[in-house]
Amino acid sequence: MKLFHDVLQQMRALLPEQPALSAAYRSDLCAESGDKNAILFRSDTAYELGGSGKPGVSSVLFGEIDASQDEVLVYGKDLCELTQDTAFAHLTIVQLKEHSEEDLRYEQLKEIGFRLFQLYPEGYHIRVSPSAGREQVRVAKSALQGAFPLSFINIGCSLIRLLREHEDVARVQTVFITGENVDYAALAALARKAKSITEAVQHTLQFGELDCASCKMKPICDEVEGLRELHMKKEKEKQNHGA
């Protein structure tokens, strides 16, 4: 989707040139699923991503992915290399199928975004605050032991599988970022912007308000190229349909 193009570029510009780790999606790399009501107790927790008041940025964006496969990228240390609470960001870029994008429905973006809340990997307790754009993760001591300690690659593959099960999703790239060398505040600002674009798209699709002067989405529509066009196109379709 063109709408997120600028935000996505600015986010990518904040990351190092090359990821420390990357992997194409493979179903056998998916993490084991856990119980959705399981609490990971502090005493069983090795550390928390985004814990101790450190940044924990979360964002789902809809855009173009210039890769020929679904993939997981890791910038900074992987799970088994971490020992204490750390700053963290998790960006997921979803490319919609072309026909889906053309006749976009309000529910689609929501449904796809919600999939992140349905991920319950064993030993990796995710909690997301949509209002704060925050994601925090408790990582179990037990998950880091043994011959195959849990990796972001496993979590990423699980998320990709969940997202690809949605019929409108064409491609997914999910990016995990840890460590202190990233401008998390800037990432968080961009994540907020991405969220307001999503909301504006949803607002447009759901309510189809015609009077821009009184619409609360006006500031973001003014800023993001393509939002207003999408809106007008939808309105026209509706009128044609009604006629």
Binding site: D35, N37, A38, I39, F41, R42, S43, K110, F114, F117, R127, V128, S129, P130, S131, R134, Q136, R138, E199, Q202, H203
Partner: protein, 254 residues
């Protein structure tokens, strides 16, 4: 894993909080490998002090935060709100070794705890499975029974002092509970009993689990703001709680 739930209820001031705390201490010492959840379900609060545990947030704090975001008209879907609540749930749980603690807090809207009670019920349904034992220090009276906050309990523990009023309340709660909630075993603990007291032998109340006299150590401890963990092992409140626990855990009793 089977979760065993104890729910304490009875008139105000009879010792529900003191005895819940005593039972929680006993469970955590007897079963160091088991997980125990202590729940302060009384808006009068007190269990936090009795256990010396204070989570950063109460369930009511979470509820208010979410209600506020709805009032502000933020574009939030039900699923977003659920995720938000789940995010803060961990902030509501204080942990110390095998013990976890959560509190409903002190709802401001005078007299109406229904919303936070409904929330408590839902939270208990989702997280109880993580624990071997859940001990609920309930609100005085029948509200939480009426609202079936404690719908599925293993042991219903009714607490009374020696007063006629205390016994009436116990009998009334028992009466309501019979029709509304499921439990495996119920019993009464008589607390702060003077000598010469004869527990009433009536069909109206379940069997007596323990009779506890005046406990100076408990009174002192409370006055000094100390937790149940600083009570001497032989304090009457602890001994009475142990007796009640043994009576409840005994097989084939009724």
């Amino acid at each position: 894993m089977r979760t065993v739930t104890f729910a304490f209820t009875g008139k105000g001031g009879v010792g529900k909080t003191s005895l819940s705390a005593a039972l929680i201490r006993l469970l955590s010492e007897r079963y160091p490998d088991k997980r125990i959840l202590a729940v302060d379900a009384d808006p009068a609060i007190g269990l936090a002090t009795a256990l010396d545990m204070k989570p950063p947030m109460t369930l009511d704090d979470v509820r208010l935060r979410i209600a506020a975001s709805i009032d502000k008209g933020e574009t939030a879907d039900a699923i977003d709100l659920l995720s938000e609540a789940k995010f803060h749930l961990l902030d509501c749980i204080a942990e110390r070794s095998n013990l976890s603690f959560l509190a409903i807090g002190r709802p401001e809207a005078a007299g109406c705890y229904c919303k936070v009670n409904a929330y408590l019920k839902q939270v208990l349904e989702t997280i109880s499975g993580n624990f071997d034992y859940v001990v609920i220090d309930g609100e005085a009276g029948i509200e939480q029974i009426n609202r079936r906050v404690m719908e599925n309990i293993t042991y219903l523990v009714l607490v009374s002092d020696g007063s006629r009023k205390g016994i009436q309340v116990v009998s009334a709660i028992h009466h309501v509970a019979v029709n509304l909630v499921k439990w495996e075993k119920a019993g009464v603990i008589f607390n702060r009993i003077r000598s010469g007291f004869d527990p009433p032998a009536t069909q109206e109340i379940p069997p007596v689990l323990a009779v506890i006299g005046d406990d100076d150590a408990q009174a002192q401890n409370d006055m000094q703001g100390q937790s149940v963990f600083s009570l001497p092992d032989d304090a009457p409140v602890l001994r009475g709680a142990a007796q009640a626990l043994d009576a409840l855990l005994q097989e084939n009793g009724s």
